[in-house]
Amino acid sequence: MANVTTGKTHPRHFRLFLDEVNLSGFSRTVGSFGSSYAEAELTGWSSGVKWYNLGQPTHQLSGYQAVFDNTAALGSFTELKTREEYLVTLMIGVKAAPIVGSSCFCASLEQKNFIMDASGPILLNVDLIGPGQTELTLVEKVWGKVLEMGATSRTATLTGASVDNGAESTGGAEGFLHITVSDGGTWSLKIQDSPNDSDWTDLLTFAADGSAIAAERKAVAGTVDQYTRVLFSRTSGAITVACAIVRK
């Protein structure tokens, strides 16, 4: 069966990137992730039903469980033991590994809990909530589309497959980038958009140049055209990158 982006699925097809680490190989379960809004009840005497207005949302990823691995730099314990704020991209593959156009959850989240469970296999239990003070501009939207899966080492310029949003949007966007492997080469990492899937302009250019593992969130204002894709231009080297876009 051809790989698809729509339909029912199972968590085994999820992929999780925290900062510059691909935790998919260590992940066992994730409880819940998304946004929960504060509410203010505004019901009056003559209201037929309870009436609410919503306040700010809380973004969170909770009930996450990973197998312990203390490999330097890329192990689950190595990455998660330091309490900090993480750039998070959780890709939702449908019946198979994620592909370009798959849905994803993207947010900047502060680590709230980190508890090791040694009652059986050594596990890490983690809850993330956010954002922290370093990401004051984080926006409400957290649901985006995968542009590059972070599963393949790229050794040549990559013009990604396009993602059709159905129409342009006007509220800007945020790009999420996770460079999980780098051999020290030089790249220019961009997200492009197009009104017709043929003529493309650079929507945003990440500051990261592929010379080291890194994670970055880059915001852009204004119109985002109907189609989006990545353009990773290679000068030298090889990189493995996960990238997603969230339209505001």
Partner: protein, 67 residues
């Protein structure tokens, strides 16, 4: 609709997949590089600006500006 020989300056980099061409920010392009509708969309969305308005219209125009 702008004239055929109107010149636009790209404010961001751009690719034309059909022609396999790439223009960096600052490049001067015309409707020979991209369609008029695309260029006008880019002007409207801040990706390009008109640097020289042309005078020549295409055959399908009414000749109002024809020399």
């Amino acid at each position: 609709m702008m004239a055929n020989d109107t010149k636009y300056k790209m404010l961001v980099g751009a690719n034309n997949d059909k022609k396999g061409t790439r223009f960096e920010a600052g490049a001067i392009v015309t409707h020979k590089d991209f369609s008029k509708s695309t260029l006008e969309h880019w002007v409207n969305t801040g990706r390009a600006e008109i640097v020289e308005e042309g005078e020549k219209n295409g055959k399908r125009n009414n000749g109002e500006n024809a020399s």
